[in-house]
Symmetry: C2
Subunit: 437 residues, 2 copies
């Protein structure tokens, strides 16, 4: 059973409810295409069944490796870019103490990320940390030759071998890569690194529930079984319900498509009221932007953290150009309790809130904002979860993946390729004088 | 003399160069309106002269206060939202070690932020830090009754007084607020807090060069004199050059306005290739979104960090809906040096890059991306700075502020109000049962 809820208050004041019926066949066809695995990009549908294929042995292998890395490391550096970066970071930041290293850590290593930019100062700062801390490396790359992670791994491998010696370094490096081919696979075999496989049928942005996401998440000390269990629940629910009325991913996919195609809502703002979800928002931006953004169409995926950004983008959302829709991840309960104290002088006038929890106020801000933005002409979807934990994140991950695949089929694009990502690389290689193979 | 450069390669393949001439009078009028201080919102033009009014005494007072807080604190919490938050954070994150607390700090306190959301778990985690560390508080609010910072201050004031006793707590709290009015001003006077003034004529999003930004930046150990000096140089340059040909802010403001109004480029993506600029991008989003986004118009301000997000939004930028323009902050030199090592086996095929610095490769990625995006139909502006330091950030801050004010006047809106920010507050207060005054 799923705990995620989806609602679309007042969306039919923006689009005619008849359009849902008119497009119902198209939606059913997209759903059927996805579930029967015969649409565009169907060689990349491995993510559909990943949660169901996850078993105790596989889980244990990941946890054993994570525990080994954790035992020998104060810091674990995860090298990867795009889908080999954002999924793990999204889950870890959602779950970890936001000031982890200031409070002396959680008993697990700090997970730091590298190979997702070419910043020299960032790399220098990372090396500064690695001089001072014991560390291990998880390097994630299908091919081993993607420029950003390859550069980072070359530098950190050299550092690690100098610091620990070549033999010990091998025990500190884990590769997540292709099962058989590619430069990283070959190197890992030659050097004797522990390795995990990125399945051929799972693209980067759909890979968080493979070792790509699961190993770093386990290193940080979070429960990968519960995470995958959440995805299993969502999967069963979505595969068992095949109509707009009964399936929340079909609702979300169709309504946002209608707002885009019929009402010119060209930007979707994914909003959370919890700052720890900021990388989850980044993960969503990649998932949807890369899956849908082709053939000169698709909703532009943007993100915000409220109420922070109500004092930033809020003015624009309320009164700027009317091309926005908003999707809110609503979290019903916090993990910890902080209430508003009573103050005798009441200089700030907040005594009317005394003893209220911050979450109660935060949820009221959320409700007030929804009403304000609806008034301002911004349609609003709500995705509710009971709390931020492994299980709800697992549900959300699968929900967004499934909705996104449907969204791509509604737009009639291949949701599983990314031909446009090559363009900058080609130019860069030419300018750098990369030798032709 | 300024060190910032602005260029607009191939923009005239998107807009007709004649349009620049056709709109030249409008541009000159916007510039004149701003400089002669007689346009919409002209009671909020204090930011125009702030850098020139900054003097040694004022600087010394800020630095003395910062040093006092630093001497007694491992952590300084800055309470503020919107413009009382983003400017300080943008500058501090641009300049500080990205893993500050992992490498044992810089000899200055860690600056943490509060009062910019209503997250209960975030507040709980912050209190956890403050249990363990010696700390001080900078509370920033014009009125003292803005909900988010008022809640945070009520909770942290109580905590601080319990931890240190009421008398010592007074030495650990600094208020930045109105000169004469408001709840925080009154409280600060009653309690005897050290205070700094937010000038009446400077709105939140233009306040980074007031104590709102300068005190936290000085606490973190950065040179506020150089920061303001950069703004002084940019101010003199912009006020002395009054034509499109000679003034880079006029170029930027007009060209982005033309792309929006004539070519339907509805989204501007501010891009940096250095992750430490991610909060500078957030600062830009507030500045432009809140200044321009009204009367159902304006460019939607979005942001990205490349090459990270080339593996996320990159596909959309290259091939999605063609409603984007891109503005790149290009940083020519890094602070530190890291080069690509030689590897005998060359498994990753990177030996062709050996001895190249990461910055050289990063700048090549930038050039390759610009060409790819131009090919893909995304116009591209480039703002170059020699390096990320106080002086260049000061230039950038004033450049963006000035360009944004011009942009607002070109759109014929008041760039200095934010009427739409009240809507969610009104609803929230009603739902919370806030007593009427």
């Amino acid at each position: 059973m799923i705990n995620t809820k989806f609602s679309y208050p007042e969306v039919f004041s923006f689009i005619d409810e008849k359009n849902v019926k008119a497009q119902n066949e198209k939606l059913k066809s997209a759903y059927k295409t996805l579930c029967s695995r015969n649409g565009k990009g169907n060689d990349f549908l491995g993510w559909l069944d990943l949660p169901a294929e996850f078993d105790t042995n596989f889980s244990q292998r990941i946890k054993n490796c994570a525990d080994k890395l954790a035992a020998q490391s104060e810091v674990v550096v995860v090298i990867g870019i795009g889908g080999s970066y954002l999924g793990a970071r999204a889950v870890i930041e959602a779950l970890q103490h936001p000031f982890n290293s200031l409070v002396g850590g959680s008993g697990r290593p700090s997970v730091l990320f590298a190979g997702n930019s070419i910043s020299e100062d960032y790399m220098h700062a990372l090396l500064d940390v690695l001089e001072k801390k014991d560390y291990s490396i998880i390097v994630i790359s299908k091919s081993g030759t993607t420029t950003e992670p390859a550069i980072a791994f070359r530098i950190l491998k050299e550092h690690c071998e100098k610091k620990y010696g070549k033999d010990s370094a091998k025990e500190r490096i884990v590769a997540i890569t292709d099962a058989a081919r590619g430069a990283l696979k070959k190197l890992a075999t030659d050097e004797g690194y522990d390795t995990f496989v990125i399945p051929d049928s799972v693209g980067g942005r759909y890979s968080v529930l493979t070792p790509v996401g699961l190993l770093p998440i386990a290193v940080a000390g979070f429960d990968i079984d519960k995470l995958v269990r959440g995805a299993v629940e969502m999967r069963e629910y979505l595969l068992q319900n095949d109509s707009f009325e009964s399936n929340i991913a079909m609702q979300y996919a169709l309504l946002r498509y209608l707002l885009y195609s019929e009402k010119n809502k060209k930007i979707e703002l994914l909003v959370a009221y919890e700052p720890c979800l900021s990388y989850f928002v980044e993960w969503y931006k990649q998932l949807f932007g890369e899956s849908e953004g082709k053939e000169n169409k698709a909703i532009f995926p943007a993100g915000a953290i409220f109420s922070t950004d109500l004092h930033s983008l809020g003015q624009y959302i309320q009164e700027g150009e009317r091309h926005l829709m908003e999707t809110v991840i609503s979290v019903k309960n916090s993990k910890n309790k902080v209430a508003i104290p009573y103050d005798e002088k009441d200089a700030d006038g907040l005594n009317y809130l005394q003893k209220k929890s911050l979450t109660e106020i935060n949820l009221t801000a959320e409700k007030g904002t929804r009403l304000a933005h609806l008034d301002g002409g911004v349609p609003n979807f709500q995705i509710s979860i009971p709390a931020i934990n492994e299980s709800s994140l697992g549900e959300l991950i699968y929900f967004f993946e499934f909705s996104c695949a449907l969204g791509g089929y509604l737009l009639d694009v291949n949701p599983f390729n990314q031909p446009g990502v090559e363009a900058y690389k080609k130019n860069m290689f030419k300018l750098l004088g990369k030798p032709e193979k």
